[in-house]
Structures are given as C-alpha cells and as structure tokens.
Subunit: 429 residues, 2 copies
C-alpha cells in the first residue's frame, strides 16, 4: 500500500525561516516520490512495517543551492585574481569561454563541473554556460544525467565582447530560441534560463528580445548587477537615460517580469533595492568572488531587511570555492567586516542565517526546495562528521555539529546525497 | 666523497624577497646536511655521479611557516564564531584549555595537531600550549618526533582568567622555568618560547619575571597585540600609565628585547608601529581569525612599508583553517577589502607577496628558513598538481600553478615534505 514511501532516519537540521534552526534528533522523514510527507520524532504507527534507511548519528541537512556558477570558467579557478572584474574578464574569462566553441573541450570540462557539484553537495544550481548553444545544451544533459537539478543558460553577448565571443543580435536571439526549444521539455529537474551576461555586453534590442523569449516560454532570467564600480560607471555611460543599473534591466523587461536572479548587488541605491523587493528579484550573494575580484562587500543584511530574497553563489571562477559550506563561512566573515565598517550597526550573520540562504533562501527559486517541511522536495545531504570529532570526551549539540561541518568539514563528510527524493550516486561520464 | 649530499630535481618556486617570485624550471637543488648548497638549472659536472631524487614536473616550494597557532584549541575549530574575542575566550577557549590539566586528553589532541600540521605542509610553527607545563612539554616532544620545527610556549596567566586556568605569579614563573630547563636542550628543531597570553591576563610582576627568564635562557617571546578594540580599552584601564598597548610589553621587557612575535596587530598607532620596526618585532598576520572573531583587517601593507617583518598565522582556533595556503588566499582577500576601504590607496597583496610572508617572511624567525637560497635550511613541499589541471589543453606557468595550488589545492597535492634537509613521513603516534 505505502511501499512507494521512503523512510530515512537521522539527525535532521534545517532552516525553515531566516535565522531559525530546526533540529530533530534521531528523527524520521517520510518521503513520497519527490516530496516530504512529514518529519517525526517518533515514527507514526502506520509506517511501522516499512523499511527504514537509518543513518545513525549522522546529520541530515538540505542539499546546498548555488545560485551563481559560470561552468565554463571551471579551469580558471585560482587564476588572475590580482585583477578587478573588467580586465579579468578580458584577460582570463573571455579567452577561456571562447574555447567552448569546441564541443569536445566543453564535454571534458563540463563533466568535471558536474562531478564537483555532486562531490561538494550542491543539489540545485543556476549555471551560466557560454554563448555556444550546443556546448550549453550538453552541460544541461550532463547535469540531468547526474540527477542534479538546476537552470542552465546560454549566455548572450552582442556588444563589448572579445571577437571570438561576439554574436549578432539576431543570431544571439535565434540561437537562444533554438536552445530553449531543444531543452525545455527534455529533463525533469533541469531547465533553460534566459542569461544576458550583463548590461555592458547586451544591446537594448537583445535585452528586449530576451525578455520576449522569457515571456513566451515562461522562463526565468539570470544576470549580474552592480558588482564593481567601474562596471556601474560603464553602464551609466551606455544608458544615460536610465536612472540606475537596475532600471536598465527593468526598462528592457528583465528585472522580475519573470523570476530573476541577479548576482552580486553590492552597490545598489535605495531605489534599486526597493525595485528588487517589489519585483521579487532574488540576489545571489557571492562573497568569495567579491573578495577575489576586489569588488566589495554586498550589504546583504540591508537587502534582507528591505525584503529582498537572498541565496548564495560560488560564482566560479570569480570565486574559487565550489563548496557552498565554504561560501557560507565566507558570507559570515564578510558580514563581520561589514558590521565593523557600519560601527557595529548592521548585525553580522549567524550560522542559522547563512544556512537558510544556502538552502531554502536559494532553493525557493527552484520551487519548494531547501527545507524539510511538508511538501518540500527532498534534497538532502547525509553528513558523517565522526572524523571531525577529534576527542572522545567532547560532545556537541546538533547546531554546533553543523557549524563545525561548515567551517572544517569537506566532501569526505558527505556520505549520501538526495535530489528530489532520489539518491544520487557519483556521476559516471 | 660527496655522498652526504642530496640532489633533488623539480620545478623550484620560492620568494627570496617580498614581492619577488623566483621560478627555476626543471632544476636541481643540492642539499648538504640540513642546508642548501645551491640551486642549478644545469647540474654542475662534479655532482654527475650522485643519485638524484627526481620529482618530475612537480612544483617544489619552501615549507609553510605558521607563526601563531593555539594547539589546545584544536577541538574548538568552527565553534562559537558568533562571538568577539573576549566572550569567546570566556565561553569556549578557557573551558577547553582547562582540560589540558589531564595529560591523557592533551596527548589525544596534540597528536592530531601535529599530524594535521604535517598533513597541510606546515614545517615550522610557533605554538601556544596551555598553562600546564607537562602537557606543553608533551606537545614539544610530539612535534620533535614528527620531525617538524618550531617554538612551543607554556602559557602564563596570573590575572583575569577562569578559576581553573589561574596561576599565582610565583607558580607561573616557577613552572615556566621548569618547563624551559626540561626542554631547552632536548630537541634539535623544537625549542621553548616565552608565552605571556596577553597583557590582560598577566600582571606586571609576571611580565617582568618572564622577561628575566627570556634573557637568562636567551629565548624568544610570543604574545598578542591589539586584536580587538574591547581588549585595547581593557589594557588602557589596566595600565593607565602606559602610552599604548605596545608600551606595556615594552615597559616589562617583552617587546623585542628578545626576538618577539606579536599576533594580530590590527589597531596599532604610528608610535607603536615605529617601536615594532625599531625593536624588530615580527607580526603574525592571522586574517581568518580576524574575520571570524570580527576583529578587523590588519593594516599589513602599512606595517611592511614601515619596516615591520610580517609572517602568517592560522591562529587556530580563532582561525579555522590549518592550511597556510588557505591563509595566504585569505590574506590576499582581506587586503583587497582594505584596498577598497583605503579608496584604492593601499595596494592589495599579490600572490608573490603573501607567498613570501608564508615562507621566508615567517621563516626568518626560525633562522635561515623559508627560501631556497644558498645556506638556507631545506624545508620544502613537493606539490603534484596534476589533479588540478582539469583540461588536457591548458598550460600554466609555474607562477600560475602556484596560484592555483594556493586557491584550489589541498593536502592531497602535497606528496613529499622536507624539514631541515630531512624527508618527513607521516607521524605515527
């Protein structure tokens, strides 16, 4: 009768709301298909005859969500980090992305990207590809084969790019529509996303065309916003008629008309933040990238206080860490520097707060994802932290164990991964 | 005749001065006993009949130097990082350190500390123990058994400590002298160091007594300076007669009268910095700890410009990362935020600059350590970065390979470790 149900036992730790940490020691989660039917401290009697997957004293936490990751920049991690955004794009990023015209090279890199995402416990991800529709479709296929969930975008660039990455407006739109048609109904958990690189590399015509495609196919949008002061000045030059950077996207229909992720958002003014909140734009906060490219510290506490949804992003390869656990630690760290810079007025983030961003905060972009509440898709990581417990006498609370895993754990501690109710084995490409 | 010589071949990368990166592809280093006789791009004819240890295409870099590490806080990594320094000491650090009265507990933790140092490629380290002379002597013995080099200090605290960690002035000095006598001639590469915790936990009498011991036994000194604004205000209250925090140490003879490491140095004024330079005080820059405890960003560029020597410190467990490679990346990152905060006036650090701090910068505290120049003790890590080269077509320079190892490598990439000419196998305790 109920043998389509799964029962998993362990120490559940999750964040149902910003700042709230729910811990259920030695508890049960009942999964029906993709979704959670309920969590229970005592197993209800009607499930007594079902098999239980018992993870013993392990922690079970929601899978990590990465809202911003440039898959083709994977090989560039740790390179060129003595530069700011714009010269870094010219000297390192664009030459690497140009290689993805070659499908064989793309396959070689992308299989590693997907394997690393699996390895570090990212279960949902918003990926930038390159301008190349074939290579980007291949990336989607690999992500789907691995059983991970996500959005993948063919990047659009019809101005201010390197020669080898420049599209005409028409070709860019035509390739994007081809890409969408080929992929939109192909995979259960992996979908296309409209991906103008950023304002400086997209003409108004291209942005308008992409907004039409987003509406026509009911697709979400991802791009970059206010990462670097040089970039912002450039946008101002390119669009002197627009009040601010956000207004350029807004003018062309790419700012929340469909669900939208904007990465970085370091330097937005009050009017932009108000618009982000009103249009329900989700911010991808990428602290490692913002450190590495000397971009600055995003005012995330302020964004959240003003009603903007925030998730975390690795921003490979501005960021070098694929691990969203490490990104969480970095988010706490930069928030402490922000707290100091604010004369201790903007409270720094706690672990429950960044844990929310890394799970339900970003996960909400994918539906009911990132929590262990009823009706949520069961994305989970099973954390065996035995190796982190360095003494035989110290005992830690579940919250402390989560904190220690975030700061000092790594992929060795992740012993099982679930996405939408299904256990994911290591991808075999 | 010359069979006491060792020849090692590989790609040498080292930093002979701040900002200078020396790369010697496919080159040879000749080691005589502990020391480097020379590095050569072509092997001189007189060595032709000697065996060569050939590390192929691996990188060979100086071993990492960690100038600040609290060994007894190892189990506390990743805990309590929602607090600032003073409450964190009270709530987490002191209770953990009190456990080291128990030698069995100390042995259990310290064997892991030494193994982790080995694992992450730290070849020389300045360690804080606890107030307990026996446990701290045991830590020295383990470090020596593992073949690592370093200074280890019995901590002194005769005021403002928890009850279980409070010493009388007399007992503190007597135990310190016992500790010194028992250990000073016992090990080749591991020596005692005078370790007043910090001004708030040491009376003037204790500090004076420790200065006498430092002089009597010709020992170096390590402590903390200007980590947190609350701490600084407290020092001002305790010593209203002193001009500033540095002057308290200076008054009691603990500020460069013997070679001295001061950890943190975030908030020093111009007079203090001048005194540090004049007295040749070495700063242990601990960026992860300074982030985690919301202490601030040390003005390291300014310190260096004003002639102060700077090395890096993990500051376990204010810092959570034992890897000095990760600490290097953090030092670059916070320097970029400092650059932004200085209106882009204080240039951020480059990889060659932090690589110098992590090797010769800190290494100079231990003698001729941290470089591959003639006469330097041969401390080295052999880095196999094959696994980091994610594509078959990308080729990287030696400098780029170093950068990629620092940002995205880990202990798996360290395939051999040498300390003072001797290859170190994994410690077996």
């Amino acid at each position: 009768m109920e043998n389509h149900l799964k029962i998993i036992k362990g120490n559940m730790v999750f964040a149902p709301s910003f700042g709230q940490l729910e811990t259920l020691a030695n508890s049960y989660v009942i999964i029906e298909g993709k979704k959670i039917k309920g969590t229970y401290r005592e197993l209800p009697a009607q499930y007594n005859n079902l098999a239980i997957t018992d993870y013993g004293d392990a922690l079970i936490i929601p899978g990590f969500v990465d809202l911003h990751f440039h898959a083709p920049q994977f090989a560039n991690r740790g390179l060129g980090l003595d530069l700011e955004l714009l010269p870094w794009l010219e000297q390192y990023t664009f030459p690497e992305e140009a290689k993805f015209k070659d499908n064989a090279y793309a396959a070689e890199i992308y299989k590693q990207v997907v394997t690393e995402l699996w390895k570090w416990g990212t279960t949902r991800v918003a990926l930038f590809g390159t301008i190349h529709k074939e290579a980007t479709a291949h990336l989607m296929e690999m992500l789907a084969l691995a059983g991970l969930g996500g959005y993948v975008g063919k990047v659009n660039m019809d101005r201010n790019s390197s020669d080898s990455l420049l599209e005409t407006t028409e070709q860019s739109l035509a390739d994007t529509e081809d890409f969408i048609k080929n992929t939109i109904d192909r995979y259960g958990l992996v979908k296309p996303i409209i991906t103008p690189r950023f304002v400086p590399s997209c003409t108004g015509d291209l942005m308008s065309g992409l907004a039409r495609l987003a509406g026509k196919y009911n697709l979400p949008v991802q791009s970059h916003l206010s990462e670097n002061t040089g970039e912002i000045a450039w946008v101002k030059e390119l669009h002197p008629d627009c009040l601010n950077y956000a207004n350029v996207y807004q003018k062309f229909g790419l700012f929340g008309q469909q669900p939208t992720i904007m990465a970085h958002c370091i330097y937005n003014d009050a009017a932009e933040i108000e618009l982000m909140a009103k249009n329900k734009v989700t911010v991808a906060h990428c602290p490692y990238s913002n450190n590495n490219l000397a971009s600055g510290i995003a005012p995330v506490r302020k964004l959240i206080d003003l009603g903007v949804a925030v998730g975390l992003g690795s921003d490979i390869a501005g960021g070098h860490e694929i691990s969203i656990a490490k990104v969480m630690a970095a988010a706490v760290q930069v928030s402490k520097l922000k707290w100091l810079a604010s004369d201790k007025k903007a409270p720094f983030f706690t672990i429950p707060e960044v844990f929310f961003m890394a799970t339900k905060g970003g996960g909400s972009f994918f539906g009911k994802v990132g929590s262990f509440e009823e009706g949520y898709e069961f994305d989970a990581l099973v954390i065996d932290d035995t190796g982190l417990n360095v003494s035989t006498i110290n005992r830690y609370s579940l919250a402390e164990r989560l904190s220690r895993f975030i700061y000092i754990g790594d992929y060795h501690n992740i012993v099982a991964r679930y996405v939408a109710g299904k256990k994911m084995e290591q991808p075999q490409f």
